[in-house]
Symmetry: C2
Subunit: 395 residues, 2 copies
């Protein structure tokens, strides 16, 4: 390893438009949300590999010499298509994680060890990896993808497979396109280990940042679009994505003549939003464009209610924010979960604070953040807040 | 006149599904609401024609000898197509109602005098007409149509143009189909006098009762469908139908790819509702059918919000009723105005009462009534409540 320390971060993800309808072949717009996952990788001389995940109280280490035999008989990575099932099986045995364990901690450990072993296959290095995330887990905000993207970028850079783009003049830097593609493919592998059959959207957003169009399995990053201020609210109402997706499918089968036009309309919302963002980038973010973005948010929120994935907590979010002229929609699976509220460039800080307080009084978590922020980045320690550095450096 | 007294009533109207989208060529379902307008016509020997409209504090009479000259030079009614503009002009001059007066009182008086003079053209009779309505005026509930239908039925019966269907054995009776068609045509004339260019739906509902399909100018009464219990709520938030209709048009022009599918979906809601009502009539009103009717109400309410004709008062109505498992939507123009809430046959009376009280506490008017009730009827005095008789008989 040429560098003894790597600091990287990757953003979370929200669906701006097209959740659920994307399952039925329509266009969706996914976008980075600037609640980030931060990772510090240190080269050590302990002979151990160590992972620290303070968000989920997980602090584990293994001797390299104990890990080495796990690679015996490993096949070459087949173009990073599918995880090596045999290696995963050996990893589960080695770590004592049973075959049916799918909890956050178990899956984070498996993804880390798998990626570490396959990236460093030729010569296992002694490293400590610490990860701290601003993203809540299990809230549909792509926290696992941000984790996998950070792991992938840091491990590939530390191994020398890709460059280390940071130079002394920079506080933050990004990798080249080809390197980002490799980061994304490894992160997708991590997602497959954790989720089985992910769409690939979350790791693409974590890697590329900004806005991505997702349609019929194809993921296309949009050319430059504005960064938009938002509130991100977690109603903390638990929901099952599987049950919600299945409910939408049932409703489409029950009322096809009613529901298929709704899917068409949502698709048109995504397309119109993409056009509007492109025009905003070209002509500047005038109030007219914000009016359209707000109308699209309202329309889609009503459509999601038609699909049966609304929830009274989300109605509360919409009502509380609309009372202040702010427009909100659910993001992701719905039925509770998270919502986003668009803020304008000129929206008053004290009004935002009072909105956040009122939403917190409803029992929700609420963050002021932005969407469209950059994807995975390498940082100097000067780029990070003292709070985050303190956490990452304490292991 | 063979009979010295006629008591008739006609129902109001609500749009069950398809408001606004009907303007854009889609199917709407209009239905009678059992808040009725009651009319008493008495033959007198005073030589006067008298109209009493206690709802709007209007009590007027004219000597027949003064009215007779107004008919001079009147053309034959051209198949009841358009009001005679010359006669209307003379009526305005005679009553002192200026050309630009369109207030409820002026229009009610003009419609009455016009219909009286043209029905009784051959020999003006001395009569007193008293009308009392349970319907609020100007709330989109077809109060003018119920008034015109009552006037038309009573005047045509009193004149002997159509029969008097009531026999001593009956408390209430309806006219034959051909007679109802004539009543409807005269009532439509009254509507034209009052509104200029009405759709004809309101007078059709007042005449035929039950459910009517309205599509591209064609009005089709549905064969037998169930009578459904509802709450009718008037938010009393004033709105301009013209402004709302124009706002929807603007939105369709602004976002055609988003809004046209919404119109398609609303049309499918109307069609699905009609099918469901027909099946309920055939197979009995099971809970499964009510589930569908409730889903359709929710879907359409969301669609109307997409069209921009919702209002926070209507959101309140939906929220208050949904908290008790009841489903509501706006009816008519929206932007305030009225909403309907479906009740099930088994819905508990005390729960309904507490719902009504909570809605009244929100500042709304609220009635428990039904939709699908019969159209215009002739009654014996035994059929009417003491309260209504007392009002009608006090003039």
């Amino acid at each position: 390893m040429q560098t003894s320390e790597f600091l990287v971060s990757a953003p979370g993800k929200v669906i701006l438009h097209g959740e659920h309808s994307v399952v039925h072949g329509k266009v969706a717009l996914a976008v980075s949300v600037n609640l980030r996952t931060h990772l510090r990788l240190q080269a050590t001389s302990s002979g151990d590999v160590r992972i620290n995940l303070p968000n989920i109280d997980t602090f584990l280490s293994w001797e390299i010499t104990a890990l080495q035999p796990l690679l015996a008989g490993c096949k070459e990575q087949d173009g990073l298509k599918e995880p090596d099932a045999d290696l995963l099986k050996r990893l589960r045995e080695f770590t004592g994680i049973s075959d049916d364990s799918t909890d956050t901690r178990s899956m984070a450990v498996l993804a880390f060890l798998y990626m570490y072993l396959t990236v460093f296959a030729g010569s296992l290095a002694s490293i400590t990896v610490s990860v701290w995330s601003e993203l809540p887990t299990g809230a549909g905000l792509g926290s696992s993808a941000a984790y996998n993207v950070c792991l992938s970028a840091a491990l590939l850079s530390a191994r020398g497979t890709i460059s280390s783009p940071l130079t002394p003049q920079l506080e933050s830097a990004r990798w080249r396109k080809e390197e980002l593609e490799l980061i994304n493919r490894w992160a997708f592998m991590g997602e497959k280990i954790i989720h089985g059959n992910p769409s690939g959207v979350d790791n693409a957003v974590g890697t590329w940042g900004g806005f991505l169009r997702y349609h019929a399995g194809n993921i296309t990053p949009l050319s430059w679009v504005p960064i938009l201020r938002i509130l991100l609210t977690n109603t903390k109402v638990p929901r099952s994505t599987k049950v919600l997706v299945s409910g939408v499918k049932d409703k489409i089968n029950k009322f096809p003549s009613i529901m298929n036009p709704v899917l068409e309309s949502i698709s048109a919302v995504s397309v119109t939003c993409e056009q509007t963002l492109t025009e905003m980038a070209a002509h500047g973010p005038s109030a007219d464009y914000y009016n359209i973005l707000e109308e699209l948010i309202d329309i889609n929120q009503h459509h999601l209610n038609v699909m049966g994935v609304g929830h009274s907590s989300l109605d509360t979010l919409c009502r509380v924010t609309l009372a202040r002229g702010l427009h909100s929609k659910l993001t992701g699976a719905g039925g509770g979960g998270c919502g986003i509220t668009l803020l304008r460039p000129e929206t008053d800080t004290s009004m935002i604070q009072s909105t956040i307080e009122e939403l917190k009084a409803c029992g929700f978590d609420c963050w002021e953040t932005s969407i469209g922020a950059p994807g995975v980045q390498q940082h100097s320690s000067a780029a990070l807040s003292q709070d985050i550095l303190k956490i990452l450096n304490s292991y």
